[in-house]
Assembly symmetry: C2
Homo-oligomer: 245 residues x 2
DNA sequence: GAGTGGTCTAGACCACGGG
DNA sequence: CCGTGGTCTAGACCACTCA
């Protein structure tokens, strides 16, 4: 069952947005029982090919990708003609972004603690953002700072910082001059799945940025969790690029 | 059931490599039927938290991440002390890499066709590589070239090109001086899942590179498909970096 | 061979949401 | 309201692999 419909989908015989037959109908089509059909459907759901929309049935998934450019902070990059062609109407442009910010003071998640070099028992400030596009969760953006660094500063305030939190950090004497980016793909953790309202078959793209001051002290670790089916990270490089001075 | 064991896993009460009780035992523990237990287990499998290893039972998954640096071609980057600390024994170093190469001449996959600007009906050369570490599939590396560009060249030969295929392309008069990188996370396509031997709950990190000559002609499109649970892409940037001249 | 998970049958009742 | 998928029961037999 799964095989038949999987190939219908990958061969474009079924297009994104198309409805599959009901479980009833599939049960008859393959002269089997509903349980078996449901197993097959679950496979396709977990492969990210279809999604159930009760009580309307199963639908072939759409993938609306938005291009995001991670390095925009330090690298204003011109949009080249080729990129334009690919991006088409897939950009975030013209859609309504909103966000929700909250701030906590917590022991750091293990990976964050390692990157910031936090001693056991020490705390970090977690500045958590959920970003929405047209009201739908789009990505998570959690920034972590050593607590003693930003004690009493505006970064603890769960409101937007117009000039950017990196600038705010710089104003405290911790300007970041270098960053390490890590990118990985995985299934969302339970907490992430909740915040992003993700069902099965929806991996996330995790982009972790650690920022360092001129004396190589890590002062910020940002964890971006991007819904895989909605983001493409984009960057450009050229042979003439000079790196590390 | 899924909830109970999920939190045991995320709270480290169960560690990577630990065995779960058998379906039998879980059925008794939750006084339910095997079908119900199996549904719960399947959820955890698809969340990437556990994996079945018949007939030994279900095990909490291990994630052995190797750091890969996509820009290494043009950006020899020093390994900084912080990175060393994170990488620990997770590097590919010391493990045995092998690869299998095959070459086809085909109509381009749609995304590749767009990026290379291939006209309808025209063909591309697909140079496909599967890379293994210690005998296990590690990633896919498929490079596509417009067929008329490299007709008769050594790139068509399904063997390793010691000086690199980019150099071979340069020798044909198509040196690449600029590239666009796209990174996304998704579930593997059926074909990719086969080649990489991926079960459910295993997303991939797709890294697509399009290379351009000095007159901005796209001459190569490489699609790297990395097993999510085995790779972290790593890059560095510094504020002084000059980009685009 | 023994024990594991993989697949299947044939029912039942519940939960949700659109018309 | 009614049709959809979501959950559950209580069985059965098969397939694989390790010791």
């Amino acid at each position: 069952m799964a095989d038949v419909y999987r190939s219908k989908i990958v061969s474009d015989e079924l297009s994104p947005g198309d409805r599959l037959p009901t479980e009833q109908e599939l049960t008859e089509e393959f002269s089997t029982t509903r349980g078996t059909v449901r197993e097959g459907l679950k496979v396709l759901v977990n492969e990210g090919l279809i999604e159930p929309a009760r009580p309307r049935g199963y639908f072939v998934r759409r993938h609306e990708l938005s291009y995001v450019r991670p390095q925009s902070e330090w690298r204003p990059q011109p949009v080249s003609p080729e990129m334009d062609r690919w991006m088409e109407d897939q950009t975030v442009l013209g859609r309504e972004p909103t966000q929700h910010i909250s701030v906590e003071i917590i022991p750091p998640p293990s990976k964050v603690g390692e990157r910031l070099g936090i001693a056991k028992g020490d705390l970090v400030v977690a500045r958590r953002r959920i970003r929405y596009i047209d009201g739908e969760p789009f990505n998570l953006n959690d920034s972590f700072y050593p607590y003693d660094l930003i004690k009493g500063s505006e970064i603890l305030n769960p409101a937007d910082i117009p000039r950017g939190s990196n600038q705010a950090l710089a104003d405290l004497g911790y300007e970041q001059v270098r960053a390490i980016d890590e990118v990985e793909a995985r299934m969302p953790l339970p907490d992430e799945a909740n915040r992003l309202q993700l069902g099965p078959g929806n991996p996330v793209l995790v982009h972790r940025v650690t920022g360092f001051t001129i004396d190589d002290r890590p002062v910020r670790c940002t964890v971006n969790v991007l819904i895989g089916s909605k983001h493409v990270m984009l960057f450009e490089r050229s042979k003439s690029t000079k790196v590390e001075g």
